[in-house]
């Protein structure tokens, strides 16, 4: 991986593929409670799409576009969302930490649990679980991309020092 990025062909193809991978990853996150997958898996897919951009365009260019600082804010927000959803369980519904307060009690916007028989399930049947999946997804996207980004940048820095 050169620091300036790869050839024009690779860059163009990355641009073409990126939205599709993004959509696929987001699909996995949002449908985590119905199909295989969830926050971590979908987040890893999205983060790998971001890593693809990093490889195609090089770490310096990517560092200019997005800072590790901003990613860490997203990461905190994701984790915060997750833990606050768990905390809401104490204050609402039955008053238990990690309670699924959206499927019962006064805040039951989201009806019932998914039908336990086989067949097609609705997306709004799992209460807080999809929301938690989204929170985890946010954290994983930001976290994994930050790791890859910082590592790429650090190796580039070491190379720079070695060259001198």
């Amino acid at each position: 991986m050169s620091d300036a990025g790869m050839s024009k062909i690779v860059k163009t193809m990355t641009g073409v593929c990126f939205p599709f991978i993004l959509i696929f990853g987001l699909y996995i996150i949002v449908h985590g409670h119905l199909t295989p997958g969830g926050g971590f898996q979908g987040g890893a897919v999205v983060a790998s799409a971001c890593a693809m951009i990093l490889i195609a365009y090089g770490s310096i260019w990517t560092m200019k576009k997005i800072k590790e600082k901003h990613l860490s804010i997203f990461e905190s927000l994701g984790a915060l969302m997750f833990i606050s959803l768990a905390f809401f369980g104490i204050f609402l519904a039955d008053g238990i930490f990690f309670d699924n307060f959206l499927v019962k009690g006064a805040f039951s916007f989201f009806g019932l649990f998914a039908n336990t028989a086989t067949g097609v399930a609705d997306i709004n049947t799992a209460g807080v679980i999809p929301l938690m999946n989204i929170a985890v997804g946010l954290k994983v996207i930001a976290g994994l991309f930050a790791i890859v980004l910082v590592m790429a940048y650090a190796t580039h820095k070491i190379k720079e020092v070695d060259d001198q």
Binding site: L77, I90, F98
Partner: protein, 535 residues
């Protein structure tokens, strides 16, 4: 009010530091000072809840705040469903006497560390990440000490490993701290993976992850034996028992002092894991007539390892010239004393010829109490010494004892704290180290005099070690390069004072602590059936 908090206390004790950890980066975007206040408040709140929880479990029935919550000395908390849920398939926190004892440590150590870091970390960069990781470490430690679920234990173990490794490498410009962190993460990952392997074996056998459920149905077949060995040895490596202790002095020595204090808590959390596995999960199998020989053999192996640990720790500490590495080796020796007590207790198991009931003899019981008491004392004493070492590093930027000297002339309070730590850790009367070591000496003397002699001898060598430090760093003429050294900032002094006060309190009233905190813990430790009945 208290009852409301206490209902959720096991969950809150983990959730509040977690919430604090994730809020810290956002708060520190606003202001550095605000962040420090925020972190101290979060830690103090956690400590308060933990102390409340611990009090409610250990206190006598009539003075409890919420006696309904505690059944048989055990409070359970089922995540996600409350009392309506089936505890077998859900994540459960089960806090009994042992847990209530261990979390006292987790209440004191991070509080002292966080107050101390206010001054200690003043000039460092990346403090938001530092505080995030400290809070994460606290949450992981508390989770480890309260969970009633084996897999959850593994998860918290890994959380603490990752957070501590990142904190050990906090000073990335120092090559020694980076390599110490690498060694720590390799050792703890491999340990944790073997723990997971053992958990998987148990899960495959009994189709449960809940400790109580596994303990209820456990047999003592070949696979269970393998799981037992893997769990004990892997956790022993994480607890720093010789000859698997080599990571410990390096990790303790190279981490910033405030971090070391919290890592001591997690190391003792791993030690708690050994106790839980040995006495609760396999308790009814090990302490039973059919496996009496095996239990005694296990006890003697532990005693052998303990003697080795004490010996190596003390001898290496005597030779070290690095302040914090020396305390690290002393910490290894202190862990050896605990293992000695617990191993000796197992080795005294006997079968009553009349009733046919197997049990631990009365000297074994004293050993158990002494060992349990020593967990608390060791954590406090060693932590205080590390904080003093950090204070010395803070003023002199020097960790080698060869280049230190005459600091007592400028740092009165730090010197006093060091003397208190020295007296406590080397088991001199009247401080806390003596009380617990006395119990260990006496009980091991009744089991085998040689053990007690080795223990006392090594304690004397430990004193010699710290007298050397005291002489080399604090006494002697005022060195010209330390002419302008000043006493450390107030927050650091307060951090040390917190620990010192607890040490002196335990030292002056050992019976109070033993009767009210240690004895319930030992009773709970032996009473595996109560833990099983908690679910």
């Amino acid at each position: 009010m208290f009852e409301q908090i206490l209902t959720h206390a096991p969950a809150l004790a983990v959730a509040i530091p977690l919430l604090g950890a994730f809020l810290t980066p956002l708060v520190s975007k606003i202001n550095g000072k605000l962040r420090n206040v925020f972190v101290v408040i979060i830690t103090a709140l956690t400590s308060f809840i933990v102390a409340l929880l611990s009090y409610n479990i250990l206190a006598h029935e009539s003075v409890k705040f919420a006696p309904d919550l505690v059944k048989n000395g055990i409070q359970t908390y089922i995540f996600g469903a409350g009392s309506a849920g089936d505890p077998v398939v859900r994540i459960v926190f089960e806090v009994d006497g042992v847990n209530a004892f261990m979390i006292i440590l987790a209440a004191i150590l991070p509080l002292a560390a966080v107050i101390y870091s206010w001054g200690f970390m003043k000039d460092e960069t990346g403090q938001d990440k530092y505080y995030t990781l400290i809070l994460l470490l606290t949450a992981g430690m508390l989770g480890m000490m309260m969970t009633g679920d084996l897999f959850n234990f593994f998860v918290f173990l890994e959380i603490t490993s990752i957070a501590s490794a990142a904190l050990i490498a906090y000073r990335v410009n120092n090559k020694f701290s980076v390599q110490a962190a690498f060694k720590y993460i390799v050792v703890s990952t491999i340990g944790a993976l073997f723990v997971l392997f053992a958990i998987a074996i148990l899960y495959g056998q009994y189709d449960a992850l809940n400790m109580a459920v596994i303990a209820k149905s456990i047999q003592y077949g070949l696979l269970d034996k393998i799981a037992l060995i893997l769990l004990i040895v892997a956790l022993a490596m994480k607890a720093g028992i010789a000859p698997m202790h080599m990571w410990l002095p390096e990790a303790y020595g190279r981490a910033p002092s405030s971090v070391t204090v919290v890592i001591i808590g997690t190391t003792l959390g791993s030690f708690y894991g050994i106790l839980r596995v040995g006495f609760t999960i396999f308790g009814e199998q090990i302490i039973s007539e059919s496996n009496l020989e095996v239990g005694i053999a296990l006890g003697w192996v532990l005693v052998g390892l303990a003697i080795l640990t004490i010996f190596i720790g003390v001898l290496m500490a005597l030779k070290q010239n690095d302040f914090k590495k020396m305390i690290g080796f002393a910490a290894v020796a202190e862990i050896g004393y605990m293992v000695l007590a617990f191993g000796a207790a197992l080795a005294t198991m006997y079968q009553d010829s009349v009733t046919g009931i197997t049990g631990i003899s009365s000297s074994g019981l004293t050993a158990l109490k002494g060992g349990m008491f020593h967990i608390l004392n060791d954590a406090l004493d060693v932590s205080l010494l590390f904080l003093v070492a950090g204070a010395v590093y803070y003023v002199s930027k020097e960790s080698s004892l060869n280049r230190l000297g005459g600091l007592a002339r400028n740092m009165k309070y730090t010197t006093i704290f060091f003397i208190i730590g020295l007296v406590a850790v080397s088991g001199l009367p009247p401080l806390n180290g003596f009380a617990s070591k006395l119990m260990i000496y006496q009980s091991t003397y009744e089991i085998n005099p040689i053990l007690a002699i080795v223990a006392i001898l090594c304690s004397i060598l430990l004193l010699a070690t710290f007298v050397k430090v005291f002489y080399a760093a604090f006494l002697g003429p005022k060195l010209p390069k330390f002419e302008n050294v000043k006493e450390v900032p107030k927050s650091m002094l307060i951090g040390m004072l917190v620990l010192t006060c607890v040490i002196i309190f335990i030292g002056l009233f050992p019976n109070l602590v033993v009767e009210n905190i240690v004895t319930p813990a030992v009773t709970a430790l032996q009473n595996a059936s109560a833990y099983i009945g908690g679910i």
